[in-house]
Assembly symmetry: C2
Homo-oligomer: 154 residues x 2
């Protein structure tokens, strides 16, 4: 993954991070490049793995999820936890971590009873400690502005 980003690449990444539906022509217009040049750069950034994909940021509440929680869990078997996470659509992310617990689960739930159910289910796999999210910043939004990106990654 050694890929040297130049100023055009960083600008393109910043624009796509903010709005990935921008057309190549529009991007080109903003950074003073023609659309084939932008298209080729985006293709290379994807190929190099710098861009992993393009997604929509969805509002969890609009999807029926009322709040989020972080569950710290200590397990014997990570496989059992992986399987649990894969089979529960409430899981936003699962991180294996260092520290007093060995994994951190980020989940979205519909109601307190729903959270209770998940905690109870997880209880069969390991020992949990749960924190409810009161408010968030940068949740899935644009981050790491291109202006501040290192010139030589790695």
């Amino acid at each position: 993954m050694s890929f040297e980003l130049d100023a055009y690449d960083r600008k393109i990444l910043a624009l796509l991070q903010e709005n990935s539906r921008l057309g190549f022509s529009e991007i080109g217009r903003r950074i003073h490049l023609t659309s084939p040049a932008v298209a080729e750069r985006v293709r290379r950034l994807e190929e190099a793995g710098v861009i992993e994909g393009f997604g929509a940021r969805l509002n969890l509440r609009a999807l029926g999820y009322t709040f989020e929680a972080f569950i710290n869990i200590t397990v014997e078997s990570h496989d059992a936890l992986d399987a649990w996470a894969a089979s529960h659509h409430e899981v936003l992310a699962l991180h294996a971590t260092t520290g007093s617990h060995c994994a951190l689960l980020h989940i979205a739930v519909r109601a307190p009873e729903h959270l209770q159910e998940l905690i109870k289910s997880l209880g069969k796999i390991g020992k949990t400690t749960t924190s409810i999210v009161l408010s968030s910043q940068c949740g899935g939004r644009a981050r790491l502005p291109a202006d501040q990106l290192p010139k030589m990654p790695g």
Copy 2:
């Protein structure tokens, strides 16, 4: 935020979550709808706040960030923490939480020394406990598949 999603909406959300650069025609082709119909639905979903935006999923390593960490912090003033988060591009997310600490910071760093520097800086604001992320699943990727979305959110 009361918006009733029908089967078309859910399919559109699933497709855009997976690849937000799909054209309206292409989406229409896959769900058997014409492009103006898809465009209109996407416009309404954005207007209703169900879709908050479209972004690129970038590889943190390619951007020069070697690993991630979660920092639990207990602070007197949330304002000071908010300001700290806003001024540090390493911050992926900041969550105010319940539990033994009052906030959880998700950050990306270039090297252990870099992390140490951030922890030291945070030490002036509150008391921290840090966990390093060893591996992640679903980090920023597609989630909440449309097939499993509730028919009536809320």
